[in-house]
């Protein structure tokens, strides 16, 4: 098994990218990552592309060869699309990592992309809901805001979490993305604005939800032993883990814990010989404000039930005990679903290179956490800068 490093990153803004197709935005992000790695396209030996619902939203399937052709990648390499709902990007990253770790490829391109703005809200809601077990609960008309609303009511009932804790996540993340040129939203919001926003699925309101976004992000991976030849600040992958959770909410013993995250974090900490206390900065999956609170507990940053109170105490701000989502997270940076996993990698690499617009001081070890839908897929990466 080889150690693996990230030598290049690229991204589009996460926003409404009017007039830009899925093919175009994926190509741009990939080009930027290859350039950042100081490589030529001809050096790429494999390509993994994460995407969730390009078929449902845009009528376009089979996008890995599509983007590879658009980019001009060599024809003798495998180009593979991976799907795991909102974790598609994380899965693509991990599969690129596995190929390099196995010694089967030197330079691998990984990317994620989603084009959502050309479809209506109803179409997007329906597309996202396709990740539910249709037989079991998809057919009831459950939505993802609805799923996290069910969790929110239990979290409040079991632990005394307050609606202001959820709103506090939105306030923090909007404040964080003010400085992020890649972000969908770059304006602060107040607690009052969040609490007054319209209901989507009670008690989840508009500002508790991530926005519909377009975007693509990409990275280039290579063996750690040669990484310094290609980028002066290579970022080492200490662990890249993927686990599986429940597809159906009623199968969960306690939906306030998403078991795939707990298991992925435990494995990642074990492999890297670290604990939650060693993480300097995290980009985790805040598809909804409630999700950030649950994730922060499941990743071991706070005991179960204390994640909301941690927000209230300011423990997750950039200057806090564990800075969470300094990019603005999915809530404010945006969530082009299949791209997010790579978007998180982009943000953490920037932090660890010391080049982030909302820099966490001396960030040495970063964590990315990407979750699919009901938590049925999860990836966790632990990344480290060199010194």
């Amino acid at each position: 098994m080889k150690e693996v490093s990230i030598i290049g990153i690229g991204t589009t803004p996460f926003n409404i990218l009017e007039g830009k197709s899925l093919k175009e935005i994926a190509t741009q992000a990939c080009l930027d990552a290859i350039q950042d790695a100081g490589l030529e396209k001809e050096s790429i030996e494999a390509f993994y592309l994460g995407n969730f619902i390009s078929g449902i939203l845009t009528g376009q399937e089979t996008i890995a060869p599509l983007v590879a052709n658009s980019l001009g990648l060599p024809k003798d390499i495998p180009c593979t699309k991976v799907e795991g709902a909102c974790c598609s990007g994380g899965i693509a990253f991990r599969h690129g990592y596995l190929l390099v770790a196995a010694g089967l490829a030197k330079f691998v391109l990984v990317a994620g992309v989603e084009k959502m703005s050309s479809s209506t809200t109803e179409k997007n809601t329906e597309g996202l809901a396709s990740a539910f077990d249709q037989e079991a609960e998809g057919r009831t008309g459950l939505t993802f805001p609805g799923f996290f609303a069910l969790i929110a009511r239990r979290h409040m009932h079991q632990y005394g979490t307050k609606i202001e804790h959820l709103a506090g996540v939105s306030v923090k993340n909007h404040s964080n993305s003010v400085m992020n040129p890649r972000a969908r939203f770059r304006k602060k919001v107040s607690m009052e604005e969040v609490l007054a926003s319209r209901l989507i699925a009670s008690p989840i309101k508009l500002y508790d939800c991530c926005p519909i976004s377009d975007g693509a992000a990409a990275a280039v991976l290579c063996p750690a032993e040669i990484a310094h030849q290609f980028h002066k600040k290579p970022i080492d992958i200490l662990a890249s883990v993927q686990t599986t959770g429940y597809s159906t909410s009623y199968d969960m013993d306690d939906p306030t814990t998403l078991i795939a995250t707990v298991l992925a974090a435990q494995k990642a900490y074990t492999i890297s010989h670290l604990s939650a206390q060693n993480i300097d900065v995290a980009e985790l999956h805040d598809c909804f404000t409630m999700a950030e609170i649950v994730d922060s507990e499941d990743l071991g940053f706070f005991p179960k039930g204390k994640g909301g109170f941690a927000v209230e105490e300011g423990l997750t701000t950039v200057g806090g005990k564990i800075p969470i989502n300094p990019s603005g997270g999915l809530i404010s940076k945006g969530h082009p679903v299949g791209a997010t996993g790579l978007g998180q990698v982009f943000e953490i690499v920037k932090q660890l290179r010391g080049e982030h617009e909302n820099q966490v001081k001396n960030a040495e070890i970063g964590l990315t956490h990407n979750l699919g839908a009901t938590g049925q897929v999860c990836t966790v990466n632990i990344l480290k800068r060199r010194d």
């Binding site: 008309g141 069910l150 989507i200 009623y250 199968d251």
Partner: protein, 106 residues
């Protein structure tokens, strides 16, 4: 309402399924239940997928049956009544949308 009971560990689950979600081992046998339970959690949906657009707002609950198994259900609810965690409910029907439950009247 039909549920499944595992002959290895005795736990109940919602059909259709091949393996017990708790122990993955036993044979699953069909059992009839009257479908009494209580609300484990609930939400009202205001923004829906295309095909559910004209039903908005509608209520969805996670119901915990007396048998100890949970099921995702649509709630039939009179206009002026409220859903609460712990409120007693009972199964009323199953259709293409799934299981429908209603609040037990006082």
């Amino acid at each position: 309402m039909t549920v499944l009971r595992c002959n290895a560990c005795g736990s109940f689950s919602i059909p259709p399924r091949l393996f017990c979600p708790k122990c993955a081992h036993g044979v699953l046998e069909e059992r009839e239940t009257q479908g009494f339970g209580e609300i484990y959690s609930f939400t009202t949906i205001y923004v829906a997928p295309e095909i559910f657009k004209d039903q908005v707002p509608y209520d969805i609950a996670l119901v915990e049956l007396k048998e100890g198994v949970k099921v995702t259900a649509r709630m039939k609810k009179p206009q002026d009544s409220r859903l609460e965690i712990g409120a007693p409910v009972r199964f009323c029907m199953k259709d293409a949308t799934g299981y429908w439950f209603e609040l037990e009247s006082a």
